[in-house]
Subunit: 235 residues, 2 copies
Amino acid sequence: MVDAVKDLGEVVVVAPDSPQSAMGHAVTIHKPLRLEKTDLYGDIQSYKCSGTPVDCVKLAVDKVLHRKPDLMVSGINHGSNSSINILYSGTMSAAIEAAIEGMPAVGFSLSDFAYDADFSLAKRIAKTIASNIIKNGLPMATLLNVNIPKVSEENFQGIRICRQANAKWMEEFDERKDPNGKNYYWLTGKFVNQDKGDDTDEWALANNYASVVPVHFDLTAHHAIPVLNSWNFIL
Amino acid sequence: MVDAVKDLGEVVVVAPDSPQSAMGHAVTIHKPLRLEKTDLYGDIQSYKCSGTPVDCVKLAVDKVLHRKPDLMVSGINHGSNSSINILYSGTMSAAIEAAIEGMPAVGFSLSDFAYDADFSLAKRIAKTIASNIIKNGLPMATLLNVNIPKVSEENFQGIRICRQANAKWMEEFDERKDPNGKNYYWLTGKFVNQDKGDDTDEWALANNYASVVPVHFDLTAHHAIPVLNSWNFIL
């Protein structure tokens, strides 16, 4: 990620000091946070934080930058954050937090969990998208969720603007017994996509496009307001 | 919450075994979960879970109920989850999770952090809203975020269908030094509402109404898609 954007401006890194998969929009309120300078990126100012991805955004603005950056870039995540996964994702929640606080923001994810995943195409995609945000700005209260398929450069089909596919996880907990005979459960499950629309992020990724979904954080289902106004509340 | 809905059907409780404030939509993937039967609610079947509120929903369906319930009720939360707080809230994330999985779902919160807060009005509001959901159903892929003001019964103005106010938190971390001279940070901040609309949940609560916001989980900013399609991506 740093390599992708370092030519576009001054980069400052504030990142969690441990994996934060599936942390969603969690923030740390019952314990204090640590923030320490690192030298992981050579000349580039970088900090590690003991909190969640969302904590990092809040601390970066208040205690590192003392201002809002021109662009907040989150990720790149190892594994897809397409469709409903945006809600579980620490990477995307950090980008949402930045947008709530009024920063142009984008999160990037690569659909490849491999330890030695190839990020070279992702780097070029991230750079052109970040450049476009800096040049064009983003519509008000909108951030971007970018997912990049696991694909060779020659099979890559391009960048496609999409909507979030209406898909979900079907849980199947793996039930085991500990040495004391008591049950415990591992979360497992499979991703089920019933939404076959060719305007979705899932379609784009399955067809070797990088998906770009514009995201907002007004969760109001406006179309439902008239329906609810017809209800009869008796106290 | 149990008292509010126990006359409406068979109630089964699956709740976290510890406070989960500000857990957002976090799920537990790097450690296993525990689920144990309790006798906290007398005749009412109840379980405590070591995970997050969202974990509780997933486990309840897969390992306790073995089916989807007719209604999933989350809360009641001690403290408001109005406006943007829906994203940080474990209570509301559990309701969102239930809706993603296809259940009618509602989350309740009382705008009162006091240990001895009076939940009697909240109980009656929760009961009539839950009854309405069971009777009318909910629009597809929609859940409800209900917030109840701290108000006496005589000053209560009624139940109002609202949109999510466009408000946010302004962070001001409290910086301290530990006995070893190293910095640590407590998250603090103040809630800032620039959105004065009388159709918002914040307006309703400030004017002694209970707010009901219909919520969806499609985060696509559909209006931004044409704007992004005009961008020029150069790889």
